[in-house]
Symmetry: C2
Subunit: 178 residues, 2 copies
Amino acid sequence: MSLRHAMLGLLARGPASGYDLLKLFEISLSNVWPATQSQLYSELGRLADTGLVKVVAEGPRGRKEYAITDEGLAELRHWITEVEPNRSRRSDMLLRVFFLNTVEPEQARQYLRDRAAAAVTQHEGLAKIREFIADEQDALSVYGRIAMEWGLRFSAMQQEWAEWAAEEIGRLPSPPSD
Amino acid sequence: MSLRHAMLGLLARGPASGYDLLKLFEISLSNVWPATQSQLYSELGRLADTGLVKVVAEGPRGRKEYAITDEGLAELRHWITEVEPNRSRRSDMLLRVFFLNTVEPEQARQYLRDRAAAAVTQHEGLAKIREFIADEQDALSVYGRIAMEWGLRFSAMQQEWAEWAAEEIGRLPSPPSD
DNA sequence: TTCCGCATGTAAGTTGTTACATGATTGA
DNA sequence: TCAATCATGTAACAACTTACATGCGGAA
């Protein structure tokens, strides 16, 4: 049910079309809650049916501009403050770790080294975006910066962990067993 | 497609029934890749159809014991070493952060304080499990300990971040605006 | 003998992905 | 005029969730 709230959150900033929302998802929410075009259009229909958003303007090429309603804003606030976030997250990266005993220790180390490298790349990417945005004042709200900080800390943590883990494996070179 | 690999990974340790797998998921994989009973049974059927596992014994109450095949093991190893892990993870916790500007700053701070508290609880839970397991020797493989360490570091990071962020908000008490 | 745990399976519904399909407008 | 972008929608499929349905076997 988070897709609908992501859409309400974007519409809380101002009216937008399905196409606008797609672009907004791509540039600002792609790392947190990716959404496809077909998902957005069908969900927009449902949101309009339940009165959480409504069409406020029609433009060229069949463009329909939607705005959040009072009910929509109330629902968004309810979701933010009263609905407990999901703690469970699936991670196929971590799932592989559980099964590293089925491959050669050297492959296991390589896997972890690759994770460390991926974390570095991710961290660099975020740092670059932050720099870029620092120029334009206020381009990112306080909350945008807080989310960005999460990403930076997460990728730093992952890098350190993966490097530590790769070392850890080297300490007992047993054949793939179990 | 990770569910099938999670199942192959568990079967790589030894034969098991659908029921056994369900228990294994609950106790060891629930935080990394949750699965429901109906998912497991239908996926077992598909795995058997494609020859990645096979029935090796039948027991009381219609029990069917499955074992991984050579093809299954090859597929598992291929997935571990050659398939790039998904970088995108959905986080409704972080999604809410993006929209905290729609609620009162005090509610936003409360949200972040709650995240910090949840992280502490999670960290304590993991630390307890680690202690408990340390008693029984070898109950957790090297790789199990590495995964556990990820959880500990992740929850520690999240706690620190949430506390930092809650402070950050206090520094500019603006009304809820866009 | 009765209850709990073992054990399997199906159905319906939701969410998410990929692909198909179509067409209008605008700027070069 | 022609290509890129704007713009919407549908269909088919895959993954996941929740609920329903049934019945055996073993231990107290």
